[in-house]
């Protein structure tokens, strides 16, 4: 699933490790999500949305809807 996690992280000048700590996951998980290899659970997606102050749809892109 495409997402804007890397962009949002870069805007705030955070490292993957810092974002991982904020979301209480491993750095590997953040990297896997950013590269599209792993789709986060709803819980993690909500946590990310809360952290960035955005809606889930603003972070994770629904590719089926876009088509």
């Amino acid at each position: 699933m495409k997402n804007r996690l890397k962009v949002l992280r870069a805007e705030r000048d955070w490292t993957q490790a810092q974002l991982a700590e904020a979301l209480d996951v491993s750095r590997q998980t953040i990297n896997a999500i950013e590269t599209g290899k792993f789709d986060p659970s709803l819980t993690l997606a909500f946590r990310a949305a809360r952290l960035f102050g955005l809606a889930i749809e603003d972070i994770f892109l629904d590719e089926e809807r876009r088509e």
Partner: protein, 138 residues
């Protein structure tokens, strides 16, 4: 953003350490059961053997609980990798063990220490599939 306090890593490290302690304790308990008769108490002495067996089982239960706590501490990606590795580990002995037992019945394969071979096979399968899974998400 604040400096990371390594909260997640600390939690996983603690649960991993506890799992290691329980695993070592279990190995020692198994060693006590296996070698106790030879080195510590009289041959065919039932009571110490039964006590050693009970210790091994109790420590084994502790190890299982420690493993469950370890898995609970992991994040969702690592749980997914672990689950996939465990499913492969469960499947390989079934796929290999069935034909192997038939070979044993026909006298083609040795029957002694088959359980040890099974444990080794499962361990190697688990490590290989776990590391392959971790590499996939690197």
């Amino acid at each position: 953003m604040k400096t990371p306090n390594k909260r997640y890593e600390s939690r996983v490290a603690k649960s991993t350490l506890k799992l290691c302690y329980w695993s070592v304790a279990w190995v020692l308990a198994i060693a006590l059961l296996a070698l106790g008769e030879d080195f510590l108490w009289e041959d065919a002495s039932t009571v110490p053997t039964v006590i050693a067996f009970a210790i091994a089982v109790l420590v084994g239960i502790g190890m299982v609980i420690a493993y469950k706590n370890y898995v609970t501490a992991l994040d969702e990606l690592q749980k997914k990798v672990l689950l996939e590795a465990m499913s492969i580990t469960l499947g390989v002995p079934l796929a290999v063990g069935g034909p192997y037992s038939i070979m044993v019945e026909h006298g083609v394969a040795p029957s002694e220490k088959w359980f040890a071979y099974l444990i080794i096979l499962m361990s190697l399968t688990f490590f290989a599939s776990f590391f392959a899974g971790m590499r996939r998400y690197k």
